[in-house]
Symmetry: C2
Subunit: 562 residues, 2 copies
């Protein structure tokens, strides 16, 4: 197999479209208000030329996990708690497949880790915002990424036998980090004392039994003889903490139908989203469309997966994931919007009303919107927003604008429909980015005066014109029709000529000023160190630990400490 | 010149011992309650075979800056505000010398950046904890590290002419980041809107004049005709915010005398500190000694730089800096303590009393202690503390123990003087680490119960014995005299056999759980990305931007975005 993500134009073909009927690696079953998500990796079912032994995973395995979580939220409102377990003997999950990592280019590896991180944060999001609780039922060893998956769950139950342990073998065996949130969650979430974390993270064989409980690495133990009943009891106990509708909502689930995308060369057309890639210029353009017809103002659930707010954001998610995995060389995304502002504002006002009325489906749609916007935020490509006459920068679309690395308004007072921006209450609390703040707060972090000036426009959803936009700081630059085309063109050309590494590092530092959360710490601190380590000869050089894993040779290290 | 930091045993010889009479690159002058620190880099005075043009700096230049700040605090209590300016025409400072960076090994480069970061954080510490205010008077271009130095000051005054600008040319010209806090301070400290930060950081020529003020990149402008009077007026205005004693304390300064270190092979003996390096085992041992005689219980200032609390920590600082720059391959430091616990506790109790009584000198000694401990925390080497019979783990020394990556107690009940640990109120608020919390809070982050259990021991400075230490969690492991030697030996052997990169990344993630500050964001997020970028061919490869700087060739980039 060619190295993942090493080609010039279009890279590895990964589909993010699947459903439980197609799963190769997971079994999703239901029992009243409980669901079981059991890992049973098909060794030969990897995306590349490696064998997925010991319930190890690659991107294909993780896409199914992500899909299952999404479906549990939308299709199964009756489920209150999920048991995450394995169907292999002696091993729950041995983490990311090492040989897959060895075959991957640096860029692909980093994007793979980003997706797996997002999926685990998605599990925590399901728990914290939708009350869908997760029990990791570790019926065998949980090593590396396997234990990291457990850490994303609310509680961890470990089989109490001579074999089952939780472990982070990355540092001692592979010369890399438990980079899927592991080093952050053991301290920040599990509150394991930092020196015990250090001890745990350097003992390849891990910790088992009572000591694992004493160190807070797991919550419960169970002998094999009582396994099934303990799993059920713990899952039921978790389900009592759930705020989900449960069996009362049985049959109300909304099926996430396949997205219908037309591919024409490098143009991908969805219903509300178009993505056009220019591989030569290394740019992409995403156009987002407001609802084409009026959306229902009640019983939105009847529209199911065709509801604009759900479909449009699922399409945007797919487009972003496509760019990340298939077009590694694309360095800049230009966002445009179009369509009926009134339809969009009404659709989102309806959604918000239904959320406030306690509608579970509307709530899930809003949370999904939030996750997709976070995925855009975390994308290592420059985000450019263009506000032009006839565009529709309103409501949730405006959150993209608030978070863009750069934005321009074409201020053409002679235009039929001059460019405007309409911020709504959605931007002022309902759509936080990874740091827990809204994009409005993040954009104006530390500048309370600027936030205060904007609030009346937000509260009344009052359109902001070009001149106001510049004064209020909601865009970077406002230009007239003479300067605009050249300036935008020059920006794109200059930007895409710069070092992509420096840009990624710069954007990672500038996008989230101020406070941090476990989420930003995972992406900004842990991932940055992991990325650094991935590039080091001590890990990925010919004699590096990651390269030599499974081979008879011992790694050779450059011992200089940085 | 050989590549910095590339040799096996002892690396580049850098001395951190200097004084204003020896400065090659800075002029320190005084005018009542104001001081001026003027950069006038000796082009030929670099540590290596490069020319320090345009007031660019290398480690030697920065050592003098660090020294000057320390001396202003101890030797010049009369100074309330410092003007940081340059003595060259048209340029204030052009940042770190690119050719020096090009010649440096990765490990040396990272350790250089760490020291420059610590020095700039030291400027902010002087301002926030000692009321020593800084005015950056930019009498020419301030590029990259030059502007980052200005960002560490309280206020920035820029010459308003056609030439003078502030700029971050790193991303557009060098393919690296403004990594000395620049990307963090423009958002977190200056509160520049994030998209404007992005624009600023990609325009090589920078921003000048009114726009620099509008974007908050600088505070004030002055034309050349009014320069001298404006500098003086702004500095005087800053001095009125100062809480320092000022002229009332003239003549009270305490001279920081040279540290007397005896070198015998790889053994470095100071008065209260010994450092012994074992290059073959790649380990070092630091022994800290309590006061040898009773310290004065009043008028501590009369003892000057010989005061134990000042001297011991200056020596520790020197030992750590020596390890970082000269012994890059040392991966683990074992800390031991010895001497009279009663002398130490009395000396520190006296210090604290004097601080509480408003004594400026005692305050500076305590703040210095804090900075040195932070330098230890930030050192990329494993920190091991051994608590043995006859050791003196008391007071501020115990902070090292609380923060260690690993600690062992030899619990030998038959010993004459069994091992004990004595935490004092110093550890419970006076010595925060980089995250703004104490090491006690950091160790037990998220575990209020554990903190509460410890508090009585702290409040009463009650010695904690081996069995209690394990129960209270102040050490990692307690072992009897049979197991102890083997277990410690095995730990050291195993630890030093692991990938040094993975260990650095792991320690960076585990040492500071939970909340973040600008300081931890600089070291944990910004530096991690910078380190990653430094390893990338796009920066440091043959055709990388950093490598080709100043040469006719244009860099060639691998355009894949990670």
């Amino acid at each position: 197999m060619a190295e993942h993500g090493n080609s010039g134009g279009q890279d590895l073909q990964v589909s993010f479209s699947t459903n439980p009927g197609k799963y190769k690696h997971w079994r999703l079953t239901f029992d009243g208000e409980l669901a079981t998500l059991a890992m049973d990796v098909d060794e030969e079912g990897g995306l590349g030329a490696y064998v997925l032994k010991q319930n190890s995973y690659d991107l294909g395995v993780d896409v199914e996990l992500w899909d299952a979580i999404e479906r549990l939220r939308f299709e199964h409102p009756e489920v209150k708690a999920v048991v995450v377990t394995g169907l292999k003997d002696k091993v729950f999950c041995s983490g990311a497949n090492i040989f897959m990592l060895g075959l991957s280019s640096h860029a692909f590896k980093v994007n793979f880790c980003k997706f797996t991180n997002e999926t685990r944060l998605g599990i925590e999001d399901a728990s914290s915002t939708s009350g869908l609780k997760f029990l990791a039922a570790l019926n065998g060893t949980a090593a590396g990424g396997g234990y990291e998956l457990a850490l994303a769950c609310d509680e961890i139950l470990l089989l109490d036998d001579a074999n089952s342990a939780v472990s982070f073998p990355e540092v001692p065996l592979l010369g890399v980090l438990p980079g899927t949130g592991g080093l952050t969650r053991i301290t920040d979430k599990r509150k394991v004392r930092r020196d015990l974390c250090d001890a745990f993270s350097t003992v390849a064989e891990g910790i088992k039994g009572k000591r694992a409980v004493e160190w807070r690495l797991v919550d419960h133990l169970s002998p094999k003889s009582k396994w099934a009943e303990t799993v059920k009891a713990k899952a039921l106990a978790l389900s009592t903490q759930s705020t989900r509708p449960g069996l009362a909502a049985q049959g109300q689930g909304v099926t996430l139908t396949d997205l219908d995308v037309k591919v024409d060369g490098f143009a991908f057309s969805y219903r509300y989203v178009t993505l056009v890639v220019d591989p030569k210029k290394r740019t992409a353009e995403i156009t987002l469309k407001a609802p084409v017809t009026k959306e229902p103002t009640k019983n939105s659930r009847d529209k199911g997966a065709d509801l604009w707010a759900l479909r449009c954001y699922r399409e945007l998610d797919d487009a972003i994931l496509r760019l990340r995995t298939q077009f590694l060389e694309v360095g800049l995304i230009t966002f445009r919007t179009e369509g009926r502002r009134d339809f969009l504002l009404e659709a989102e006002a309806t959604l918000l009303q239904q959320v406030n009325d306690g509608d579970w489906f509307a709530h899930e749609v809003l949370q999904h919107m939030k996750r997709v916007l976070k995925r855009v935020d975390m994308t290592a490509k420059t985000l450019l927003c263009l506000v032009e006459p006839g565009s529709c920068w309103a409501g949730s679309f405006a959150d993209l604008l608030l978070f863009a690395d750069r934005s321009y308004v074409l201020d053409d007072s002679g235009a039929d429909e001059p460019a405007t921006i309409t911020l709504t209450p959605l931007s002022d609390g309902r759509l936080p980015t990874g740091n827990g703040l809204t994009r409005l707060q993040t954009r104006f972090w530390g500048d309370d005066a600027a936030q205060a000036k904007l609030r009346p426009f937000v509260a009344e959803s009052r359109p902001i014109d070009g001149a106001q936009a510049e004064k209020l700081g909601v865009v970077t630059f406002v230009r007239d029709d003479i300067d605009y085309p050249d300036e935008v063109r020059l920006f794109v050309e200059e930007r895409t000529s710069l070092s992509p590494d420096a840009l990624t590092g710069m954007e990672q530092n500038l996008r989230w000023p101020g406070p941090e959360t476990m989420e930003t710490r995972i992406f900004g601190r842990l991932s940055a160190w992991q990325n650094w380590i991935f590039t080091r000869p001590n890990a990925t050089g010919e004699k590096g630990a990651l390269s030599l894993y499974g081979k008879p040779d011992r790694p050779t290290f450059d011992m200089r400490r940085t």
